[in-house]
Assembly symmetry: C2
Homo-oligomer: 268 residues x 2
């Protein structure tokens, strides 16, 4: 057992949905969250740049003595997970494997759909992760970059959101997709808009799924924080840029948790 | 006179519209363009961070012996122009003054409208620049962040673009705006979509306007590159991240100019 914190990082505030899910499932664990808001979004950057950013953040988290690292960002998981696993002295897990496993476990017929950022789609990481579990399964992917901005602009229940859902999901839906992985931490906030247009879709929220993987990993490595069951873990939130809209987004992704976000420049 | 290059920088590729306008008006001038694609977009970041990024880029351009610096990015012009002017040994001009002057010169009755990023709107820079020319003029502003993503995703002639135009411009138009400043280098690409919805708007393209200011400044300071009139200036393009979509965007913003974009990490 260990009371060292769990390190969670994301390209921005979207990963707070993961932070929230981990905290709900494992309330005794201490968490250090870092959102790279000064360099957000990662989803349109090159793999090389995403790997560099992910390494810088991981090095910082290791210096803060974290016992494991959770890559809450789909884009970063796709680009950097294998490398960070090789390089770092603690367990590293990413949202992609968790999402792929959950989608396959739904046992819905037809192809599995994935909507994500350009970088995640380009990496084919979801396709590989799903094929590793179910080699014959067809996977249809589509980049849905506009959904990120629509979410951050608070237009989650707008006609624009529904129009974008038709643009991004229409073709997949026609081709038989009924299980859809929301392959970006922002997209769970668009669930209602997506289901308004396509009510027969089964949506996979990778944030919820990875919390279970965190618990399993800590248990396996005997790293759980076991003690007084009423003990509440400390959550520290950091971001590389603090903007006027950060608080608004924090509340949107993390509900009205009182934790304050502090500024921390890692590089750049 | 001087054959030293003109330095132009932007948060990404949008400033290539400025680069193109300067090159068309002043074909003999050498140009070094830097797009900070690894840290794009600036429009949602804090003023402090935007100033830091702008200083890093300017220091690099100065080390390349530029004779003047053009801030092609509205967000950076709003946040950093005054400070860079104080700190740097060469003339520095920004798109905001040029846009404000052009809008006032249109002599169209009613308030002047401005659509821009959150940071530019929050800075009130266009409001101040317009009031300096025409103190009694009413200015209506609106952030239009979604337009940036819509442009970069190539959805410039889509129903989503027109719906976003209604969302962002509808209220201003109702309140009498007929002159609208496109306060972000991306927005000129949405001219058609905007005019489809509001054909009576007079749109101000700040990229075109600033090219004239570059010429005037070089002339005043005796820094023009005067020589053989058939001489063609050299254009060097740099970006801090090279992605698959960069070439597509380069062509969209810069037409099919043959100049290749090379990678240059300035910081971060």
């Amino acid at each position: 057992m260990s009371d060292r914190p769990i390190g969670i990082f994301d390209s921005g505030v979207g990963g707070l949905t993961v932070c929230k899910a981990v905290n709900e499932l494992l309330p005794a664990e201490n968490i250090i969250y870092f959102g790279d808001t000064a360099r957000f979004p990662y989803g349109t950057r090159s793999v090389e740049t995403i790997v560099r950013y992910s390494r810088e953040i991981s090095a910082h988290l290791i210096s803060r003595s974290v016992k494991m690292i959770v890559i809450a960002c789909n884009t970063s998981s796709a680009a950097a997970l294998d490398r960070l696993r090789d390089e770092l002295p603690v367990p590293v897990i990413g949202v992609i494997d968790a999402g792929a496993r959950a989608a396959c476990a739904r046992h819905v017929a037809g192809p599995i759909g994935v909507i994500a950022t350009r970088a995640t789609v380009g990496s084919e990481s979801y396709v590989r992760a799903i094929k590793k579990i179910d080699a014959g399964r067809e996977v249809l992917q589509r980049q849905a970059t506009l959904f990120v901005t629509i979410t951050e602009e608070g237009l989650i229940d707008s006609e624009i959101a529904r129009l974008a859902a038709r643009e991004y999901i229409g073709d997949m839906h026609l081709r038989g997709v009924r299980t859809l992985i929301l392959g970006c931490t922002h997209f769970p906030l668009l669930k209602r808009a997506i289901l308004d247009v396509y009510p027969d879709l089964d949506l996979v929220d990778t944030g919820v799924e990875i919390a279970h993987e965190v618990r399993a990993t800590l248990h396996k490595k005997n790293l759980e924080n076991i003690g007084d069951p009423s003990h509440k873990g400390i959550i520290e939130l950091y971001a590389s840029d603090i903007t006027d809209t950060l608080q608004r987004l924090k509340n949107m992704f993390f509900c009205k948790n009182d934790a304050k976000i502090e500024k921390l420049i890692i590089s750049g």
